[in-house]
């Protein structure tokens, strides 16, 4: 059983001051095995916040296994445009999503999913939580963890996603902060017999 935290589009401090306190209190070290971040963390927190650590470092404290792709506002050029990783029986693909046009379009994302050859594709950029089951895989957009506005929307609920990967089964927990209350939703997904085990 592996827990994978997926989040992105934090835009700290330009569009949001910090992660919501309720999220921060939930995200504690020791539970999560992997973190995948779609990008747009933005710059150092230390200039503006008292806790003076970068978002990157903060995520590292939750779990040292951190995977980040580069968003259009990320200045750190070390982050790749796309990234794939295998967790258990699942192959995960990671991309910020501003490169996929039209933004948030399922067909375009499905193309990327086939291109990366992944079971689960995690993208961001739209700041809207979405999750599609598509062609034997899942396409997930965790939304913005800080509730930052995007170029498309103004009214954004902070949200992130936690995936519980166990064998051929993945349970996606969606955490959304609506009116100060954390709302949790769950999506079950079973991988139909080995597509990738043949590789």
């Amino acid at each position: 059983m592996v827990l994978v935290l997926a989040l992105g589009d934090l835009h700290i401090p330009h569009r949001a001051p910090d992660l919501p306190a309720k999220f921060k209190s939930m995200l504690v070290p020791g539970k999560i095995q992997h973190i995948i971040c779609t990008g747009n963390l933005s710059i150092k927190v230390s200039l503006f916040l008292s806790n003076s650590i970068e978002v990157h470092d903060y995520l590292k404290t939750l779990c040292p296994d951190l995977h980040i792709t580069r968003g259009e506002y990320d200045e750190d050029t070390r982050y790749p445009e796309t990234k794939t990783l295998t967790i258990g029986q699942f192959k995960l693909g990671l991309c910020h999503g501003h490169q996929v046009i039209p933004w948030g379009d399922l067909d375009s994302l499905a193309m990327l999913q086939r291109q990366l050859d992944v079971d689960i594709l995690v993208t961001g950029h739209t700041h809207q939580f979405t999750a599609y089951k598509h062609e034997g895989g899942v396409v997930i957009n965790p939304g913005s963890a800080t509730g930052a506005y995007s170029s498309i929307t103004y009214d954004v609920n902070p949200s992130f996603v936690l995936m519980d990967i166990d064998g051929l089964r993945v349970v996606v927990y969606v955490y959304e902060l609506i009116d100060g209350e954390v709302k949790v939703d769950k999506i079950d997904f079973k991988k139909t017999a080995s597509i990738h085990t043949a590789h």
Binding site: M1, L3, M26, L27, G30, K31, V171, K186
Partner: protein, 859 residues
């Protein structure tokens, strides 16, 4: 399964043709654990089963039918299965699809402590901790314990137990308590499959067609076999098949019945079942930890808080350690005091011993044998006749099992006795304690433990409470003090056992008062001494004091006494020159040996008078005093009330000595080297010639003569009536006399002292301790009174001296003659090369002595 390969108790299965009358495993285990033990047990050959009975998992009444056993077994297993279902959380597998309305609470990031996920994470944390220990469990038996299956079983059991007992939680060591339990179950199952294999052939041959034949071999086999056995038990001896079944061992019948899948409770009731090993192991572990219907609960040993109702207010393991030392003190007071001197508190080593029930000190096979004994002891509380306010602490001693555990620990201590006594600082002492020798005679150890167990049970009830409390306080204070003291300080705390007849004790009581006064004056003149040697001698003396063979007490013949006196003189002589006439030291030792409280006063005086003399007893004095005070507080409590203010300690000492003598008789069995009376006598004269050789003859003369005269005077036994003031003066005179002569040749002596030291101390330690102690006490009294005659007429005294010397020489010679007669035995027993050589030198020295004495008597 791998265990069959690694289990030494399980030889390869016998060929099927053999009509098995006794299982080979039974014999194997019997050889080590003793047949008497197995006989009284119902399932002696099935250790796992026996343990389950002993631990209270299964009913212990011998009348219990197999069916009842099966029912109880099944119940236990059901309980465990329920527990496992309830406590082991699998959060990502929904129990059923419906119960997911409260997702806000049941999600991986939930902060609610009651949520499934929180429990899951807590369990995972615990599991990690358990795994850390399990992965290092018995690496030498890794092919069983390190298999994933075994690890999984162990992990689940520990996890469940800890979840079930959150107040205890997991503590390191629990896994080592559990592992042997699982192991014996595995061995039992192995045994069962062996029996099955063995009899399958016979049975299928015989009963083809009689009963149904199925493809399911194991079950049909079980069925048939049990049918046969049942018939056999009923007594239907009509047909041919019974003939071979008659030869069946009842134990085998039991095995078969216990594993019958069609008995009571069906498959769940198969008492020996590999499938339910985990369940059974959990039940055993739980019973062991919580001490079902008994007073010894292993879980207590892991808790750091005092048990409810404990009078001492100490954590149970500390309490048990205290009880351990208490028992040791009763059994072997010298070892006890030695350990106390070093500041070695019992919990330093007993924590490890007790928590894993000696699992770390012995190999697994030996451990199983020890546990056999431990579990065989009844765990129920002994009902005491004494009233409640005497029931102080030491709960471990309240049940036979607890007493056996303590006795086992003490037996281990006694096993290490000699090496422990040889240690001079706590570090090495603990090193020896914590590296228990691998190759030991487990049977002997167990026998010893059993004898101690009986003692522990009886002693506990009879011993009054203040002793224990006193002990604890004492040990605390000793610990704090010992840090500042040299580790090799003399321990006057030893409740020394006096060998002498009551006559000598009586005399001593009168005489010792003068001693204190005398010491005052004498010590002014004491020069510096060589520390190491003195202490060694003291050590030997002290050690000697603890082991008086009872045989000595009985044959208090005149001659042997004289001999002993001579021996003492030799020792004294040896001491004298080495320490440059620092007889005071010897004096001190003797004091201590004779009477602890006396020594205390003496030492105190010593302290006062000496100031900053180079004499190193300054260091020792505090320790001496404190030790004495402590020991007197300890021992006076347990003995008779005080007579007078002055003689209070003396009398108490005396009576405690009397009580100790009995204890030492038991101890004697262990110390085989000391049990032969003639040996010490024969051996000891060695030290006489050697010392006399190493020193000048003149020194010998001057040193010996006063002492011997004292002895001589003493013989009539009238010193008790002498006026004390007189004695004091004369005594001083003698000390001066001895000292002057010795000082002249001190340089020479220094060179010669080394060989003497090694040889004499060696011989002392090896086998002649008891006589030394006995003679020391006698000698001391003699020294105290020896001045008497000298005062009247020096010449007359010298004459007397010569006379007495002659007497003594004759005695020694006669002893030597005896020795030659017993030459063979001496050689065998002592194993000391020095014996032969020593005798020759002794004879030479005796000739010298004879010459001297002749000259003296002519004067």
């Amino acid at each position: 399964m791998p265990p069959a390969l690694m289990n030494p108790l399980m030889p390869p299965p016998p060929p099927p043709s053999v009509s098995v009358s006794a299982p080979p495993e039974l014999e194997g285990s019997d050889d080590v654990s003793g047949r008497s033990v197995t006989q009284k047990r119902r399932f002696g050959d099935l250790r796992g089963l026996q343990w389950r009975v002993d631990l209270g998992v299964l009913p212990s009444e011998s009348s219990t039918s197999i069916d009842d056993l099966r029912r109880v077994t099944a119940d236990c297993r059901r309980r465990y299965a329920n527990l496992r279902r309830r406590l082991l959380v699998e959060p990502h597998i929904p129990k059923d699809g419906s119960n997911s309305p409260d997702l806000t609470m049941d999600n991986p990031l939930s902060q609610n402590p009651d949520s499934t996920w929180s429990r899951f994470f807590r369990n995972a944390e615990l599991e990690r901790m358990v795994d850390q220990d399990l992965s290092r469990l018995y690496p030498e038996h890794g092919n069983y314990f390190q298999t994933p299956g075994c690890q999984g079983i162990l992990r689940r059991i520990l996890l469940l137990w800890c979840l079930r007992h959150p107040e205890c939680g997991y503590r390191q060591g629990m896994h080592e308590l559990l592992a042997p339990l699982l192991y014996v179950l595995q061995v039992d199952v192995e045994r069962l499959s062996e029996v099955r294999k063995l009899y399958e052939d016979i049975f299928t041959d015989k009963f083809d067609g009689l009963l149904y034949q199925e493809n399911d071999l194991s079950y049909s086999f079980d069925f048939r076999k049990s049918q046969d056995l049942l018939e056999d038990e009923i007594g239907s001896h009509g047909n041919a098949k019974v003939k071979s079944l008659d030869e069946l061992d009842p134990a085998l019948q039991t095995i078969v019945l216990l594993s019958d899948a069609y008995g009571a409770e069906g498959e769940l009731g198969i008492v020996l079942s590999e499938k339910f090993m985990e369940h059974d192991a959990y039940c055993m572990f739980d019973a062991l930890m919580s001490g079902v219907r008994g007073s010894v609960a292993m879980a207590d040993f892991f808790s750091s808080f005092p048990v409810a109702g404990s009078q001492t207010g100490l954590p149970p393991v500390i309490e048990a350690s205290t009880a351990l030392y208490h028992l040791l003190c009763l059994v072997d007071s010298s070892l006890y005091s030695h350990l106390l001197d070093l500041g070695v508190e019992p919990q330093y080593f007993s924590l490890r011993w007790l928590r894993v029930l000696f699992g770390r000190e012995f190999s697994l096979d030996n451990l199983l044998i020890i546990w056999d004994e431990i579990f065989a002891s009844d765990n129920s509380k002994v009902e005491k006749s004494v009233d409640d306010n005497i029931d102080w602490g030491l709960r471990i001693l309240h049940s036979p099992r607890g007493a056996f555990i303590a006795a086992m620990a003490v037996a281990m201590l006694l096993h290490l006795r000699s090496s422990l006594l040889a240690t001079e600082n706590p570090t090495t002492c603990l090193q020896r304690l914590l590296n228990f020798p691998e190759n030991i005679n487990i049977k002997k150890l167990l026998e010893k433990a059993k004898s101690l167990q009986a003692r522990a049970l009886s002693v506990d009830i009879s011993s009054p409470s203040p002793l224990i409390i006193g002990y604890h306080l004492q040990s605390k204070s000793v610990m704090t003090r010992s840090q500042t003291l040299p580790s090799e300080t003399v321990s006057p705390k030893t409740p020394v056992n006096l060998l002498t007849d009551s006559y000598w004790e009586e005399k001593w009581r009168v005489a010792h008062e003068a001693e204190e006064l005398k010491q005052d004056g004498i010590e002014q003149q004491i020069p510096t001494r060589k520390k190491g040697w003195t202490e060694k001698v003291k050590n030997t003396l002290r050690r000697a004091g603890s082991d008086p063979p009872p045989s000595r007490i009985k044959n208090g013949k005149k001659e042997s006494k004289v001999v002993r006196r001579n021996i003492l003189e030799a020792l004294h002589k040896a001491l004298g020159p080495e320490e440059e006439a620092e007889q005071m030291d010897c004096h001190e030792i003797l004091c201590k040996q004779e009477n602890i409280s006396e020594a205390a006063e003496g030492v105190q005086q010593n302290d006062n008078s000496k100031g900053d003399n180079s004499y190193s007893s300054d260091d020792r004095c505090p320790s001496g005093n404190t030790g004495i005070e402590e020991s007197s507080s300890v021992y006076s409590d347990s003995t008779s009330p005080p007579n007078e203010a002055n003689y209070h300690e003396i009398t108490s000492q005396g009576s405690s000595v009397a009580s100790n003598l009995y204890l030492d008789e038991c101890d004697e069995t262990a110390d085989t080297s000391l049990s032969d009376p003639p040996l010490p006598v024969s051996d000891h004269p060695e030290s006489i010639p050697e010392t006399s050789e190493s020193t000048d003859v003149d020194v010998d003369k001057s040193e010996n003569i006063p002492q011997m005269s004292g002895c001589n005077n003493n013989d009539p036994g009238n010193s008790a009536t002498h006026p004390k003031e007189k004695k004091q003066n004369k005594f001083q005179w003698f000390w001066k006399f001895g000292r002057n002569t010795v000082e002249g040749i001190s340089g020479k002596v220094g060179a010669a002292s080394e060989p003497t030291k090694s040889t004499s101390s060696c011989s002392n330690q090896s086998n002649s301790q008891p006589p030394v102690s006995s003679t020391t006490s006698e000698h001391f009294t003699s020294v105290s009174s020896k001045g008497d005659s000298v005062d009247q007429n020096v010449m007359g005294t010298l004459k007397n001296i010569g006379q007495s010397m002659l007497d003594h020489i004759q005695v020694i010679e006669s002893v030597f003659q005896q020795d030659r007669n017993q030459g063979v035995s001496v050689e065998n027993l002592s194993k000391n090369i020095l014996v032969g050589k020593g005798q020759v030198t002794a004879m030479a020295a005796l000739k010298e002595l004879r010459k001297i004495s002749n000259i003296l008597s002519e004067m």
